[in-house]
Assembly symmetry: C2
Homo-oligomer: 234 residues x 2
């Protein structure tokens, strides 16, 4: 989609999942020209990048870029290290411990790249779909982390120097999955075009049993919205 | 070099330049097992990565990794965008403006990756050769930026959650180039094995006229130390 030159710009981190699709719809509804950024970081479910591309087109992004990242080589997460199994035995993070699906410093690495692009674009906002409710075990999904990143970002950049602030917008941070789904539906998000599964197959079908699928299914149930997802196991 | 299991670990950002070589020597002298991290980000002077490899070996790093980064595709800097000339007409940053050799959010992107590795290694320190004296025009070389990154890092990670703090060490931040050279010489750094030039040729020879070469030459002169660098133009 072409840019509206009267509107401000935002960089939107887009994974192809339900949350970031909703964030893009919110940023768009708030009047931003949206520049979407996805990462290929050796995640198990690379198919999600095809979902990200589709979502960016559906929701009228000005541009969508995919950056390759090397963080998978550091190991330490079930999402990038095939020696670690993804959990299927309950909602991750529920125990108060940090889940094995946590990728070390992932949001910091993602936001750092978004900041670089935001600076070049002179974008005033970076949108990120973190959520402190369902993913309470991830340290880099907490509001105090986001606030600290924003403070740092405004000291790191030309923008910060020239008194044009950069804001990190996290419109989902306090919402339940059901509330996120209701919000997105109201904005016209087609969730059949998004994927949440940690074990997505190449055709884009979700496993139905990993913790990410469980949270998603429960979200649709609690929202009272039909779940358009195709699951291998029900 | 093999690891001393009684000593703590540090991630050291290593560019192949004079400053980061000195930082590695300092981290080593402070008793750390040093894990060096370099980046291939489309910089003009890729030859510097060969210098980084040599420096890591010379100074006894436990491991040296080179990560590919995509930030060059965002443009906006003379160091990654060949359409922008590197300056040769005076010390950059001297005017108070941000120099064209500034790469958007570079230190944030570098530190974010260092943080990911530090978390997996359970390293307590990240060493970075930023300097607020010669590069005063770079927003991400200021002490207040480093302090903000450290605060954010300790909220971002498992380490931060488990009360094992991560420190960002910037031992050069207040030193002049001459003082850096004197410090490194005392620790046995061989500066002939380092490169600072923005326009390094493939053989590793420095141009002698870019602002980085000017600062380096002046540093040796002011330190009263013979300059071992091979320059194309004197």
């Amino acid at each position: 989609m072409s840019e509206n030159s009267l509107s401000p710009r935002a960089v939107v981190l887009l994974s192809g999942g339900l949350d970031s699709a909703t964030v893009l719809a919110i940023a768009k509804s708030e009047g931003f020209n949206c520049y979407c950024l996805s990462f290929d970081y050796g995640q198990r479910h690379q198919t999600e990048l095809r979902f990200a591309e589709g979502v960016a087109t559906d929701l009228g992004a000005v541009e969508h870029r995919v950056l390759r990242l090397d963080i998978g080589q550091f190991g330490g997460s079930a999402l990038t290290d095939r020696a670690i199994d993804v959990p299927t035995d309950g909602e991750e993070g529920g125990s108060g411990d940090i889940p094995v699906t946590y990728v070390p410093a992932r949001n910091t690495v993602f936001l750092a790249h978004a900041l670089a692009w935001a600076e070049v674009l002179a974008a005033s906002h970076i949108y990120l779909g973190v959520n402190a409710v369902d993913y309470s075990g991830y340290p880099d999904c907490r509001p105090e982390y986001i606030a600290a990143f924003e403070t740092m970002a405004n000291l790191a950049t030309r923008s910060g120097v020239n008194d044009q602030r950069i804001s990190i917008a996290t419109p989902l941070i306090d919402l339940t999955k059901a509330e996120i789904i209701q919000r997105g539906r109201a904005l016209g998000v087609d969730y059949a075009r998004t994927a949440s599964c940690y074990q997505l197959d190449e055709s884009g079908q979700a496993c139905g049993v990993c913790d990410s699928c469980r949270i998603r299914r429960l979200g649709f149930e609690q929202a009272g919205v039909p779940d358009p997802t195709s699951y291998r196991l029900s």
